[in-house]
């Protein structure tokens, strides 16, 4: 019959109208600043730099001492929109494995340019740069306020565990493995040196 569809449609909208007052399933709106949904584990916004709170080199502030970044500048080269700027240090500091490494004297990310592609994270051989889930980054200064420096970017490993637990556990495992290997090498080297020293006939004894 003519007009039947209109009545059906009106019934449908009436159902929505009344239903939205009674059924929480219908009204799915989350009123953002007051109500929040927990971020998904795979969420990513902008990169940050991970630092370890243990194994720190003395004489440095905490965040700088544990920084995993060695200023290899791979991420700077790979970054498609070129939003990373790194300046390598002149001197070296001890890393988590006890090896002397360069460190970034300057590490800036312009988040107004960053496109959240995560390529920097994929290419980093030192697990030093990871993606953050923090998205409320609006500022009144659109140039300086959006150019994050090394100190603003550095965040502890615990924070990484908090936002991406399973990824962080995997990374920690990998790092621990590397450290064990490095330690083994060190001990093996020391052992070999000692054996070599022992096997060598004392040269100056006869003199």
């Amino acid at each position: 019959m003519l007009g039947e569809g209109i009545l059906k449609g009106m019934a449908e909208t009436a159902k929505n109208f009344v239903g939205s007052f009674f059924s929480a399933q219908r009204l799915t709106t989350v009123q953002y600043p007051e109500q929040r949904i927990a971020a998904y584990e795979a969420a990513r916004v902008f990169p940050f730099l991970v630092y370890d709170t243990e194994n720190r080199d003395g004489g440095w502030p905490e965040w700088e001492a544990g920084l995993r970044c060695v200023a290899c500048q791979i991420c700077e080269k790979e970054c498609p929109p070129k939003c990373i700027f790194i300046e390598k240090s002149k001197d070296k500091k001890l890393d988590a494995n006890g090896k002397a490494q360069f460190y970034p004297a300057r590490f800036d990310i312009d988040i107004s340019v960053c496109m959240s592609c995560q390529i920097c994270v994929e290419v980093c051989p030192f697990e030093a740069i990871k993606m953050d889930t923090q998205f409320e980054l609006s500022t009144e200064d659109r140039f300086g306020g959006l150019l994050l420096d090394c100190k603003q970017l550095a965040k502890p490993n615990e924070y990484y565990h908090q936002i991406h637990p399973s990824d962080a556990a995997e990374v920690d495992g990998r790092l621990a493995e590397g450290r064990a290997k490095a330690d083994a090498k060190v001990t093996a080297g020391a052992l070999a040196a000692a054996q070599k020293k022992a096997a060598e006939p004392p040269t100056g004894a006869g003199n």
């Binding site: 003519l2 007009g3 209109i6 929505n16 109208f17 239903g19 939205s20 219908r26 799915t28 709106t29």
Partner: protein, 391 residues
């Protein structure tokens, strides 16, 4: 007490008039009435905008505006401040005088329509003998304002919107008039107060509203459709279809002039709902004889708000028509039905009391509706569309 409450506004007006010298009293009475109308309906407009947004949101399972004030009720104030502080831009090539006059003419003519609406017992600004005629004369002049706006803006979207609006409003004006004429035929008067009086009596506690007669029911449905088209409301909002014409005839308007157009649209909606209420829904009379103690103006305004709610409900449900569908609907479907309804109303008048006129009139209208509907649907191919160029 009840009597006083019913007549509270009339008594208030007389009290205020009494403070003035005799010579000034008639003038003061008119000014008071005008001031009341000019205050109440824009206030109602402000409330309706926020309720419309909330209602539409609920229809779409959203919450709607709830940030400004409690439950978002201060939203219209924020909107008003925004439109007052916005820059008023007049295009360089526009006809500045006409561009300025268009919104003013629109709002003034729409306000004029309220003058003859009886909003309660003894509550009518000008009790004209030809009230209905005056109302339609004023309603028709809004088309002029719309075309002034479209033409003076010198913009293709404005002009196209205005042309659509004028074509649509003239087509549906015919339907609006013809569906109202049935009421005049039965009530025997063009005066809106007399039309309300004709409906304001009860048998077995039920009212004699015209909507409860076969011709009145059909007339009311056609009146409602024509009223929707006349006020450019969805699904007949082609003149201002945002998706194809930017905003139609008010594309080149900004700031407070735009707000005036917005106000004019809503006021037209109120006044046309008020007229529909008066013609078919018994105006200010109570829906049950036992409820007659409630003040009459409460009934008028609650019926008005119910009609507004139906407007909003339809807006939330129906998609916009195409121009040819709109025209075909007016001239090929509603107009013949309207003419038939005129005959039926005549038949009703001359068959006298008894069950025969109920059966006969209902049968004619239902048969015509079904017949025309079947004819329409048979010719129409309903189903998925195929486009040759897309295969």
């Amino acid at each position: 007490m009840q009597e006083n409450l019913d007549q509270i506004f009339v008594l208030l007006q007389h009290r205020l008039m009494g403070t003035l010298p005799m010579a000034l009293q008639p003038l003061a009475g008119v000014v008071l009435g005008v001031v009341a109308i000019v205050c109440i309906f824009p206030a109602l407009f402000a409330l309706t905008t926020v309720f419309e947004r909330k209602g539409l949101a609920r229809i779409q399972n959203r919450i709607g505006p709830n940030r400004v004030g409690p439950f978002g009720l201060m939203q219209p104030i924020a909107d008003g401040i925004k439109s007052l502080t916005k820059e008023d831009i007049v295009p360089l090539s526009a006809d500045a005088a006409v561009h300025f006059l268009a919104p003013v003419v629109l709002v003034v003519t729409v306000f004029m329509g309220f003058a003859v609406l009886p909003m309660g017992r003894n509550m009518v600004l000008v009790d004209m003998d030809a009230g209905l005629l005056f109302y339609f004369a004023m309603g028709a002049s809004t088309e002029l304002a719309v075309f002034m706006a479209g033409w003076s803006s010198r913009n293709k979207y404005s002009l196209m919107g205005a042309m659509r609006a004028v074509a649509q409003m003239i087509s549906y004006e015919v339907v609006l008039l013809l569906s109202s004429v049935t009421v005049v035929m039965i009530a025997g008067s063009l005066s809106l107060t007399k039309i309300v009086e004709a409906q304001n009596h009860y048998s077995w506690g039920l009212p004699h509203w015209f909507i409860f007669t076969p011709w009145g029911c059909a007339g009311f449905v056609m009146y409602a459709i024509a009223a929707t088209a006349e006020t450019n409301r969805s699904p007949f909002d082609l003149p201002e279809g945002e998706s194809e014409l930017v905003a139609g005839y008010h594309t080149e308007y900004s700031g407070f002039k735009f707000a005036l157009f917005f106000l004019g649209e809503y006021l037209a909606m109120f006044s046309i709902s008020g007229l529909g209420t008066t013609l078919f829904l018994g105006g200010w009379s109570a829906p049950l004889a036992s409820l007659s103690w409630v003040p009459s103006w409460i009934w008028f305004f609650s019926k008005l708000m119910m009609s507004i709610f139906v407007f909003i409900w339809m807006r939330g449900t129906l998609p916009r028509l195409r121009q040819d569908q709109l025209m075909n609907f007016a001239w090929k479907f509603i107009l013949p039905m309207c003419l038939l309804n005129l005959m039926v109303a005549g038949l009703w008048r001359f068959l006298g009391d008894g069950w025969l006129r109920w059966v006969l009139c209902s049968a004619i209208l239902v048969a015509a509706y079904m017949g025309m509907g079947l004819n329409e649907l048979r010719r129409k191919h309903i189903g998925p569309r195929r486009y040759r160029y897309a295969e």
